[in-house]
């Protein structure tokens, strides 16, 4: 992997806060769906190879 173009300055800003319940749910829903998608792909691959 090559060098990524550098910015002149790196700025951070932070105001501490936890994730909202809605965001936590969104992440969990995404993870569930993503796992399902990859499981399905894997099964299709196995069936094609059989």
């Amino acid at each position: 992997m090559g060098l990524i173009k550098e910015p002149r300055d790196i700025d951070f800003y932070v105001d501490p806060r936890p994730l909202t319940k809605e965001e936590e749910k969104r992440i969990s829903d995404f993870i569930k769906a993503d796992k399902k998608k990859h499981k399905r792909r894997k099964m299709i691959k196995i069936n094609t190879n059989a």
């Binding site: 002149r8 969104r26 992440i27 969990s28 993870i31 990859h38």
Partner: protein
């Protein structure tokens, strides 16, 4: 109550197996270990750090890890704050040391190392590498390209198993 936002805003400069001295190109093997209270004496805004890591360290729901060069553990190259959630690892904060930021940085590869470590932790906890964080809007594309992170709406980004495997294999394959 007005909720303030905290975004992850760090430029992934280069994915390396270790840290690379920007001037000489020399590589250095790294360690990532959990911090203790004594680490924060010189991790202050006065010393050029941008986040209040001492406060971050005190928060009970997260752990702060430090990246150092092997055999030189007194000099902290970068820090990351992580929480283990129910189904993934969440990255609250990540920061390169002041001397590793901007155009005059000493070492490249700090953020990549720390993100790969977070993915490794996720695998170890049985979460298949899943890692999430809040990105600053203008860095979403950058995280997609460099980390393989997936933008799931708003500032939310998720690194899934495939991307996490690539990162951990890159850094921890030995």
């Amino acid at each position: 109550m007005v909720m303030k936002l905290q975004y992850i805003d760090i430029e992934i400069d280069k994915l390396t197996n270790s840290l690379e001295n920007v001037t000489t190109g020399d590589s250095f093997q790294t360690d990532i270990i959990i911090t203790d209270q004594n680490d924060f004496e010189f991790i202050t805004k006065k010393d050029g750090w941008l986040f209040n890591w001492k406060d971050e360290f005190k928060k009970p729901d997260r752990d702060v890890y430090k990246l150092t060069i092997v055999n030189n553990q007194k000099v902290i190259q970068g820090l990351v704050s992580l929480s283990v959630k129910a189904d993934h690892v969440y990255m609250h904060l990540i920061e390169s040391a002041p001397f590793n930021r901007g155009k005059n940085k000493v070492y490249a590869g700090v953020p990549g190392n720390l993100v790969a470590f977070a993915c490794k932790l996720s695998f170890q906890r049985g979460f298949e590498g899943y890692l999430s964080f809040l990105s600053k809007t203008n860095l979403i594309d950058h995280y997609e390209k460099t980390l393989g992170a997936i933008h799931t709406g708003g500032q939310l980004m998720v690194i899934n198993t495939n991307a996490a495997l690539k990162l951990t294999n890159k850094y921890f394959d030995k």
